[in-house]
Amino acid sequence: MDSQKVDMFLMTNAKYFQAKHLNYIRERLQAADDSKWAMIQSADLKDPTTSLLVSIFAGSIGIDRFIIGDVGLGVGKLLTCGGLGIWYLVDIFLISDATKAKNMEKLQMFL
């Protein structure tokens, strides 16, 4: 894939990934075939800021975990009133990194 496309992708989507993964993504994208471009563009990436807001307002019933696709943990959080309130507090700090990791997992399928 030509570097112009890769730069465009990284510029628009850098906030969806952890900083430590950006170099790896650049390398893999440059090595990837052009036919994958459409699929990579259509990957369903979630915004870390949105999930942080959801985590603050609806985290005690696990909605934030459902939204990023961690259904199992979401059920756990729902059944325990947000882990007796402790998990709720911890997740406010963890959720944006968890969202970025999930985004990386989604992109990884195409790389």
Binding site: S60, D70, L78, L79, T80, C81
Partner: protein, 135 residues
């Protein structure tokens, strides 16, 4: 979520859950106003899973019907809490991933829209019931 992280997470969660149940049954604060639920502390109305601890405690004393009347989700939690430790032990001792595989399979099933909507409606109905009961 890798296998080992899930298992570590489950062990910690089970330990926390069992110690909370033990503590709660020791001090018997059925009518005590203390609740760890942030949603209830902020809004004053019950959350979907308020009453699960009371339901599990009633179940421990043999009252199946009153446990269901308190909160049906208590049965789900009690089932998970009684089965998972043995399953976890079986997997760790024999170095298998049966629990991890069924966790992933359950996640996939729960993502099917029809099932997700049905379960959401059930939870919402239970929530309305909780508020009506004034838990």
């Amino acid at each position: 979520m890798t296998r080992n992280r899930l298992y570590l997470f489950l062990v910690l969660g089970l330990l926390a859950g069992y110690s909370y149940i033990l503590w709660e049954s020791y001090v018997r604060i059925f009518n005590h106003p203390f609740t760890p639920c942030i949603f209830k502390n902020i809004t004053g109305i019950a959350c979907p899973s308020c009453g699960v601890t009371r339901s599990v405690l009633i179940l421990l004393h043999g009252g199946l019907k009153s446990a269901i009347l308190m909160n049906p989700l208590g049965l789900v939690v009690a089932t998970i809490m009684s089965i998972t430790p043995f399953w976890l032990l079986y997997d760790v001792l024999l170095k298998k991933n049966t629990l991890y595989n069924s966790y992933l399979k359950t996640e996939k099933v729960l993502k099917i829209p029809l099932i997700a909507i049905l379960l959401f409606l059930l939870i919402a109905a239970n929530w309305a019931w909780n508020i009506h009961k004034g838990l």
